[in-house]
């Protein structure tokens, strides 16, 4: 019982982590986030379904195309819902990103349809039994891909010129600008990456779940809780917090029953934040005056 709950928890947790990484990348660069990350995730699943099932593309091509479109959607989010407000020092991007998410959800509702659809992935259904616990290929692939993407992000930011430039923006946007780093471009890249992560999560969740227009709403909210819990300033922290949240959620359900899942898991988030206000792995921001 605990074994299969752990497998479930790690799978879901890495998805929370991926969405939360999306919050992290944009927050790090611009101190703004796309609150409707759940919608970006939904778009990943809907695009993948449309290309692979409706248009009959091979799954890999469909997934790639879906990721490209998700990244483009990220650029749109930044252009329409963040930049106009953030550039004026207003916090209205908070509401604007939520609004754009609702627009995306409803557009999908009318174009994709209201009926939930299923995206079968035969390769993912293969399964094996490890130590008495039944594990399917997809359940192994999801945390693997999640962690790999987090690792890739870490490597990119430390070892490439663009990555280092982005880190410079994170440290001090004005100084970075003076050094000739294109700050708006870095922010755009961060938004594209952020929705790309969410889209990847959506594509991987699609075969596990059903594809429909509000599949990301609750998931996005949980991912935001995870991002805050991890301390939104640490990439690995956010990913770890995602894994922890997923595992704790599954274990509570398995050991105490589903009646307690939401109550206890979110209570734990509050307790954790009360004890560690900057999140489990975050650092206090120094405000220099």
């Amino acid at each position: 019982m605990v074994g299969s709950a752990l497998i479930s928890g790690l799978g879901l947790g890495s998805m929370y982590g991926l969405l939360a990484l999306g919050f992290y990348v944009t927050y790090a660069v611009s101190s703004t986030v796309n609150f409707a990350q759940g919608s970006s995730m939904m778009l990943g699943a809907v695009f993948a379904y449309t290309f692979s099932v409706r248009l009959g593309w091979p799954f890999a091509a469909a997934a790639l195309m879906a990721l490209v479109l998700c990244a483009l959607y990220g650029l749109l989010v930044e252009l329409v819902a963040v930049r106009p407000f953030a550039s004026r020092g207003s916090s209205a991007w908070l509401m604007a990103t939520v609004a754009l998410g609702i627009v995306a959800d409803n557009t999908v509702l009318f174009t994709f349809g209201k009926e939930p659809r299923g995206l079968a992935l035969p390769a993912a259904a293969a399964s094996t039994t490890v130590l008495g616990v039944h594990v399917s290929a997809l359940q192994v692939a999801i945390p693997a891909v999640g962690l790999a993407l987090a690792a890739l992000l870490h490597w990119f930011s430390r070892n490439t010129r663009h990555g280092k430039a982005t880190l410079a923006v994170v440290q001090n946007a004005d100084a970075a600008r003076l050094m000739g780093i294109n700050v708006p471009l870095a922010i755009m890249a961060a938004y594209a990456l952020s929705t790309l992560f969410a889209g990847a999560a959506g594509i991987m969740i699609a075969p596990l779940a059903t594809v429909h227009s509000d599949m990301g709403t609750v998931f996005g909210l949980k991912a935001f809780a995870v991002a805050i819990l991890g301390g939104i300033t640490s990439a690995w922290g956010v990913m770890l917090a995602g894994l922890m949240f997923g595992v704790v959620e599954s274990l509570i359900t398995a050991l105490l029953g589903s009646a307690y899942t939401q109550i206890l898991s979110f209570m734990l988030v509050i307790v954790a934040l009360a004890l560690m206000p900057h999140g489990l792995f975050g650092r206090a921001e120094l405000k220099k005056v």
């Binding site: 019982m1 299923g118 039944h134 589903s258």
Partner: protein, 385 residues
């Protein structure tokens, strides 16, 4: 010439006035996730109305006419539509209630104004058992508390189940069935392996199911709409555990095979009718009429969901008898007209005194059939492999 034309027009209008049609209202979801079901209700009613009109209508030649409104599965919109149909369109009988919450919202309006309300779908127990002294609500459909008894009976008989676990969607429908299943179990003195709830948009139900498995469940009672039900089946697949699954009719609401994968066929769920297999004379007649009227229906597999068509057809036929018995379209008289129905050879069964002041539900546990999904089609259990 002009005068002649006016006289002719008046002459033409006169019999039409005398033979004013009787309006039958329908409030249901015509858009959204349940639109297919709303369309099925429409088709069942329309085929019955066409048949009645072809035989000369009711009350000495008055034709029936269907007026529909969309409730979008929202109770408030259902009530507004019901008001409009009753008070503005003056429908004699209102059909409605695909979703139990919508039906429950319309019930008080029916009883306060003494207007007959016929429910051909929503299964919530308190819709007909609403506690009103003067009850104007009738139903030709499944009823939660009776379905729950039937689920237990089926699990015991078919699977020799001794310790079933419940996996229920976390909403009022799941709650209503938890109550019903508990009552059915305690009536027979049978224990259960546990009661687990899951959210409609949960991706993974493995932890809940693991608990039931660890508690030794030898069968599952499933209550949830088609999406959530498919999450349960997929989670069972991932666990490599496939106990018998006895379900309410949620899976019938959509593309269950597509959503749940090949294991969808393991779910046996309740239905009130199937157009597959050998049909009665009424069944043949209705099937033929449906195929003639709707070009997209080429065989029994295209009538989805079949329960909507069948329930609506029988409910309309019974309603025509009630109006005939009443001798008018006056609410209280039509209500008593339902009580006076003696015998009707219907699609689902032969009804014998289906309604009485104590009994507003025409169907019971003997009228249910058990079905499964094979290749995206609902067929009676065991008919196809």
């Amino acid at each position: 010439m002009k005068r002649l034309l006016i006289i002719l027009a008046l002459a033409a209008a006169l019999p039409a006035f005398a033979q004013e049609p009787i309006k039958i209202g329908l409030v249901t979801a015509l858009s959204g996730q349940s639109a297919r079901a709303g369309e099925a209700l429409t088709r069942g009613l329309q085929v019955a109305i066409d048949e009645i009109n072809a035989k000369g209508g009711v009350l000495k030649g008055r034709k029936l006419e269907l007026v529909r409104r969309d409730d979008e599965s929202v109770p408030a919109k259902g009530v507004i539509a019901a008001r409009e149909l009753w008070f503005k369109e003056k429908v004699a009988v209102l059909f409605g209630g695909l979703d139990s919450p919508v039906a429950l919202a319309i019930v008080p309006l029916a009883n306060e104004n003494k207007l007959p309300f016929m429910d051909p779908w929503a299964a919530g127990t308190p819709i007909t058992k609403n506690g009103a002294k003067d009850n104007y609500v009738f139903r030709v459909s499944a009823v939660d508390e009776i379905v729950d008894k039937a689920m237990l009976q089926y699990a015991q008989k078919t699977f020799n189940a001794k310790n079933c676990g419940m996996i229920l969607v976390n909403n009022p429908w799941g709650e209503s069935n938890e109550k019903g299943l508990r009552a059915a179990l305690s009536e027979k003195g049978v224990k259960h392996a546990g009661i687990e709830k899951f959210e409609g948009n949960d991706i993974d139900v493995v932890p809940q199911l693991s608990r039931l498995k660890a508690a030794g469940a030898d069968c599952l009672f499933l209550v949830g709409n088609v999406g959530p039900s498919s999450q349960v089946v997929k989670s069972l697949d991932r666990m490599g555990w496939m106990p018998p699954i006895v379900s309410h009719w949620g899976p019938a609401g959509g593309r269950f095979t597509e959503l749940a994968g090949p294991s969808a066929k393991n779910v046996h769920f309740v239905q009130t009718y199937s157009f597959f297999g050998k049909q009665s004379a009424v069944g043949d007649k209705v099937l033929k009429a449906l195929m003639a009227k709707y070009p997209d229906i080429k065989g029994p597999g295209d009538i989805t969901p079949a329960v909507g068509v069948a329930n609506a057809y029988d409910a309309m036929m019974l309603t025509a008898l009630a109006i005939q018995n009443a001798g008018s379209t006056d609410g209280p008289k039509v209500r008593d007209g339902y009580y006076k129905i003696d015998r009707y050879d219907g699609l689902i069964k032969t009804y014998s005194k289906p309604f009485s002041p104590q009994q507003h539900d025409a169907l019971n546990e003997h009228d249910y059939v058990w079905a499964q999904f094979i290749d995206n089609q609902i067929v009676p259990v065991g008919m196809k492999q």
